[in-house]
């Protein structure tokens, strides 16, 4: 599969709008970050794309088709935090079961990787801690080597060491397959170097969607004495302003061109997390 289009998708739960006219496009061959706070609509969106639940309105188009067929559904793998498998299933059987639907799944290789993470394959899924369950389902998801792999909170409960290992594995599979891997998470800064495309979702709406490089190049901080900041702020597109103890900082949107700044004002790069928080706040105003 080459492309998934999300067209005007809305989802209502009684009178709550979980998703509000979402439009997105996923191309094969990129790592996406779907970033948002808890309850922003990340999981709902992914469940709709994976065909797990129905949208109240709108369509998802898979390579031009409005419905998932046998072929396109094998082009997608969706891994979610809730266990939808029989609880007594052993890790090893989970791998075997998955490999039946995804022919590129290599059981030996997956088994070796799981061992690197310290997973005992003889354990039943319900015997695993939150962290180990997340490792198992995320590693299994990557090893389907499907064209589109959607990972919802893949590192939930992982410790720092296994998160590092996991990010290595994401990149390795991506380099080998040149497929699409989407990471949906609230651990924003940690995954920012992995991403090529970024999607911010907040209160069921897409707040921002851009190429990672563009996004990082179009926001920066200016910080310095409050009086000096006051003098220059008019000439910038200020997304967020903070003043405390006579110091001020501006999160500015605009090109990172060298502009002549007064002595005492420092320019620095904004992190993905900074941009996200500022945009979410602005969205809620």
């Amino acid at each position: 599969m080459e492309r998934i289009r999300v067209r005007d998708i809305s989802k209502n739960y009684r009178d709550v709008k979980a998703l509000d006219r979402v439009n997105l496009e996923f191309e094969k061959g990129k790592i996406y970050g779907l970033l948002g706070r808890n309850g922003a609509g990340k999981s709902t969106l992914l469940k709709i794309i994976a065909g797990r639940i129905k949208a109240s309105d709108g369509q998802v188009i898979y390579d031009g088709e409005a419905l998932l067929n046998d072929e396109t559904s094998r082009g997608i793998y969706f891994s979610e935090p809730d266990n939808i498998l029989p609880e007594s299933m052993k890790v090893r059987d989970f791998c075997r079961y998955t490999s039946q639907f995804y022919p590129r799944f290599n059981l030996e290789e997956a088994s070796r990787i799981l061992k690197d993470f310290g997973v005992d394959e003889k354990k039943r899924l319900n015997q695993l801690s939150t962290g180990y369950f997340a490792i198992v389902r995320s590693v299994v998801a990557l090893h389907t080597r499907a064209d589109f792999i959607f990972l919802d909170e893949p590192t939930l409960g992982h410790d720092a060491v296994s998160r590092e290992l996991f990010y290595d594995e994401v990149l390795r599979i991506y380099r080998e397959e040149e497929n699409t891997i989407l990471l949906s998470t609230h651990l924003i800064d940690e995954i920012s170097n992995l991403l090529e495309e970024v999607i911010f979702i907040d209160h069921g709406r897409i707040v921002l969607e851009d190429n990672m490089e563009n996004m990082m190049a179009s926001y920066f901080y200016l910080a310095g004495p409050a009086d000096q900041i006051k003098e220059i702020e008019g000439s910038f597109n200020v997304v967020e302003k903070k003043i405390d103890l006579g110091f001020a900082s501006l999160l500015v949107q605009g090109s990172d061109e060298e502009s002549v700044l007064p002595t005492g004002i420092r320019k620095s790069r904004a992190g993905l997390q900074d941009i996200f928080i500022a945009r979410s706040k602005k969205n809620n105003e």
Partner: protein
């Protein structure tokens, strides 16, 4: 080379400059192969597209060239060209900020020159 995610420089630029420094230092000598995008992605845990952007910048600026199906190599004369490029940027990157800070602190030109000489003696 080590990436600094707090650095104000984008990651691809850090990759480019890291490779440039290695070429200047002779770690990657003329006609030697530099690491591939895949290797850089693995070692620095970054998206291969980001690594590729850093490597391509070296090709675009004429310090490296691509051998089809083999990899990226350092061009003959690259270290000399790099030195010229860095010298051209020296004033803007190092001198102007130095002078700006010196002015703010009311350090006289004479003091500044003396300090540079002293510091240089200490280096030898």
């Amino acid at each position: 080379m080590k990436l600094d995610t707090q650095d104000s420089k984008p990651i691809y630029l850090q990759i480019q400059e890291g490779l440039e420094n290695a070429i200047l230092a002779g770690t990657y000598a003329e006609e030697m192969q530099i690491p591939s995008t895949t290797e850089l992605s693995r070692v620095f845990q970054i998206n291969p597209a980001t690594a590729g952007k850093g490597v391509n910048a070296l090709i675009d600026e004429g310090f490296c060239y691509k051998k089809r199906g083999i990899g990226i190599f350092v061009k003959r004369g690259a270290a000399e060209m790099l030195k010229r490029k860095r010298k051209a940027a020296f004033k803007e990157m190092y001198l102007l900020p130095l002078i700006k800070e010196a002015k703010q602190l009311e350090i006289s030109k004479e003091d500044l020159i003396n300090w540079i000489e002293e510091a240089d003696d200490g280096e030898d």
